[in-house]
Symmetry: C7
């Protein structure tokens, strides 16, 4: 069983925020928009989405920072995942 | 009797969420947007919708994850179905 | 006397929902958007509407499902009719 | 003295709704959008309006159904008239 | 000293509404949008405004009907004037 | 030290409104949009802003009327300045 | 470890406002939009963002004025940083 995102959707899995690690990224709670670090699990094909041509810039395995409240949560084999638009992914962390 | 969706509309039938199956997808309730798993029953022809060219990427028989509150419910021969725009379908589950 | 819709407007007449018929379509009440079955009486010519080219896909005599609150009611020779945009027609029922 | 509408504006004069006439159009009150029958008095030249090319499809003398709250009322020689956009005219009645 | 409107802005001076004149235009108060008669004092050059090409259709000296609350009031040499977008001018009165 | 506006941004310095001067412009307070007279200090390069090509029509030294609440205040060497989009500048005063 | 912004995103680090420095920029608190001075740390590649072609005009090391509430805060190695769209950067300070 396998989730294949459509269009510019990206399937991600939120990482635990590592507040104690020295070089870890700690994402503070914010009332408006709670940023999150996540790992990309699957990426839609892009193409024309809502009349606009979208090229995908993230790939499975990327660690990304995203805007949490923009996505839709799904639970799969006991794991919580999130479907977001690529536009809600703010940055790649290398 | 037969429902033929227009434009980018898709006719889907919500699946019961299988909360006890090990490999089943369980969709948690969310206050803003309640995701759902469904089976595609019929697909509109796409084409120019609201001035934008839409290609249909789902087909009858696909299992999909969609955003529940975006659609319109219809009851047909005792079965509840939902008409959604393809844009409200987030992913295909294989 | 004759009502000729302009642009992408469609003149429809709501059907009584046949809740007892086995193969009839029963449309449940919904708080946000109340779907309806209707018969198309007259169809606008389409063309450029609000800067977008619209092709009409419904014709007089079609049975359609539409979003009720999007239209404008008119009464004509004692009959209640509704003027909707074609975009508010979700599907054709055959 | 003469009112010349600009762009896609149309000058109309509301007709009294003929509730008792058998073949008259009776427009029921609606909380959201109160439709009205009116006669077209003058029509703007159309052309590029808000970046979109508009062709005028109504002409002086047409009887039309329009959405009342969209327009702007003016009083001229004791007569009440309304300036609406052509887009707020739903249908021509012949 | 001289006010030169930019883009599609038009400088107008509101006329006193002549409620007693037989052939005068009387503009009734409206809660949403209070129409007004005014004289055009100066007209912007038009051109590309907000990504759309605008041609100016009014000129200094024109008597116009406009939507009052859309503009910005300025006082100059003791006279009250208003800066409106041409789109808020509904008709020319000749 | 030097502020260089980006895109269609314009750096302006509000002028004191000269309420007593005979030929001065007096800008009345308004609840919705408080117009202001200002001097242009620096002008962005224009170009493609939000997908639209913008040509700058104001230059340093121009006296302008602008919509106050649209801008962002900055204080520099003890002087209060405002960064506005050119679109919020309504007219040039000569 | 390294944050690479996507599209038109820019990673910035807010500067302490130097209220006592004579030639420093002091940014007053504002209820609607609190401007801030910041240093650019990393810049996205631009390109097609939301269907519009974006060219990046800021680079790492630039001192900029931005609209604070538009961005998303991240904490990295104990330092607070902000991810903003380039459009929320108002000016470069040299």
């Amino acid at each position: 069983m396998n989730i294949k995102p459509l269009g510019d959707r990206v399937l991600i899995k939120s990482c635990e925020s590592e507040e104690t690690t020295k070089s870890g990224i700690v994402l503070p709670g914010s009332a408006q928009e709670k940023p999150q670090m996540a790992e990309v699990l699957a990426v839609g094909p892009g193409g024309v989405v809502d009349g606009k041509d979208v090229t995908m810039h993230v790939k499975a395995g990327d660690k990304v920072i995203y805007s949490k409240y923009a996505g839709t949560e799904v639970k799969f084999d006991g794991e919580e995942m999130i479907l977001v638009r690529q536009n809600d992914i703010l940055a790649i962390v290398e």
